[in-house]
């Protein structure tokens, strides 16, 4: 009985968590592209103006980032200025929650058919590498190991801490600017 009563609250909390994580990840993608050379090199292969979306089907939370050139991303919130070039779509919010709460690795979610790719698959592979790199920076190693296929052996603590601090600072600044605007 109690479980039935609290179920709507659980669903609402899950929806809010996924929405918040998308907002953090979108801003963090922008930040990591300003901080990390490897991410910039990955992103440079994307066309300028390339729009990437991660969303929950059928019309749930989403994050949209644009490759503005030179390996840099810009976070657009959940509104796309043009048609999307590449969309990674979670089939259900429960699947998005599994990935964004680091219970299931992104690669495993792909293997488990939790997500669909609409667009050029080679760009999807590239964006997955960027997301993995981002998660390796911003999550504690123990958590990141649950999120990515393989934690990068060449990412040592000093570099991780400095980069993570810069990314979080940029994310926080972006949040504040959004609120002010």
């Amino acid at each position: 009985m109690l479980a039935k009563r609290i179920q709507p609250m659980v669903f609402q909390a899950r929806r809010l968590y996924v929405e918040l994580m998308f907002q953090v990840m979108g801003r963090a993608l922008q930040a990591v592209s300003e901080v990390d050379e490897k991410v910039q090199n990955e992103a440079r292969a994307l066309p300028d103006g390339f729009l990437f979306e991660m969303m929950v089907m059928p019309d749930g939370s989403k994050l949209i980032v644009e490759h503005t050139g030179q390996g840099r991303f810009r976070y657009h919130g959940d509104k796309a200025p043009r048609p999307i070039d590449l969309s990674i779509q979670f089939k259900h919010i429960a699947h998005a929650f599994l990935v964004l709460s680091f219970q299931e690795k992104t690669s495993v979610a792909f293997a488990n058919d939790r997500m669909l790719v609409d667009g050029d698959i080679s760009y999807a592979v590239r964006m997955t590498r960027v997301l993995n790199r981002l998660e390796s920076f911003i999550l504690p190693k123990m958590v990141a190991e649950r999120a990515v296929k393989e934690y990068p052996a060449d990412l040592h603590l000093p570099e991780k801490l400095i980069s993570a601090a810069r990314i979080y600072l940029k994310v926080a600044t972006n949040f504040v600017e959004t609120v002010r605007a």
């Binding site: 599994l98 293997a111 058919d113 080679s122 993995n132 296929k149």
Partner: protein
Amino acid sequence: MTNKYYEFFCPVKVIAGKAALEHIPYELTGMAAKRPMIVTDKGVRAAGLLEPVIAACEESGLEITTIYDDVPPDSSTTVVRDIAGIYRQEKCDSIIAVGGGSAIDTGKAVNILVSEGGDDIAKYSGAGVLKHPLKPFFVVPTTAGTGSEVTSVAVITDEAKGVKLPFTSSFLLPNAAIIDPRMTLTLPPHITAATAMDAMTHATEAFTCMAKNPLSDAYATAAIKKISQSLLQVMDNPKDSDGRLELAQASTMAGIAFSNSMVGLVHALGHATGAVCHLPHGLCMSLYLPYALEYNLETIREPLGELLLYLEGPEVFAATPASRRAEASISAIRKLRDALYKRCQLPRTLKETGKVTEAQLDHIAEMALDDGSIMFNPKEVTLEDARSVLRRAWA
């Protein structure tokens, strides 16, 4: 409770064995199809492989309405549009693709156009665009390797844009795959070897990569057993129709396995090598298989060790300590490649192909890293890792 989850889907009716072609008229009639079009290529026609298909239909009073026999090895949007035009002009109501990967992919793409309408196949490119079942579609494979008869994917080149368009939908799956040993009986030795190694790679990667599941495992192991037991027999006696049927079935089973569990590094490297050096897909698979398995070894030790049973049989499996079985599986694959090299000079290294230069390896590595298959490889592959596997496969 674990997060383990999988999906498995294969609604293709498999019609396999002696006189399988003679079932085509019944199957077509069962779907109210009376005016079938055959889509094939010149090689298939020249090899006389259409005759038993046509005879089987005519004997049952079913006329083949038209035959398109000019599918190129790398099919294009123009070819698809032209074939769809003929289909409409001749008022056909079903398609029978007879051939290898290209004819089958072309048949799938033509089926999209004639079912959905229009002339621009590019409009239907991508995943999940199709929302309705298509016209009756049958596939008669003439090679034993690609497994295209049971996959929901087609790739067609857009000549104008110079890109390969992927089409993915469960509606692309044929209604039936007809596996008849007569269709592979005249395959030349090197194609028999390369396509069988393609199927072997499909099954091995299906069993060792990230999306493996209990159902795809069952198909993969059965396919590996059939190939291990029959390939060399067929190489020594190409007219062995029982052995040919075993290889054809293995190819279909491996196709079912990998289309439900995906593939990994061997395919990523193979696709890139095919694009850069224009080497046949099956040959690339055979080339890279042991090297990619060695690279993945510590991540796939357990499933790879299990494969020894299907590669070498119960005696060898029982006599090999559990801790050495994964290495023994790789050795068994190397041994098979050596035997194929002895019989038909199927290259075992990039150098042996004579068509790849060392200078191309970096380009291949970069391309492989962007291939969709790499996502399902159990180990995260970096550019340096890909280069190192290529260097090992060089000579």
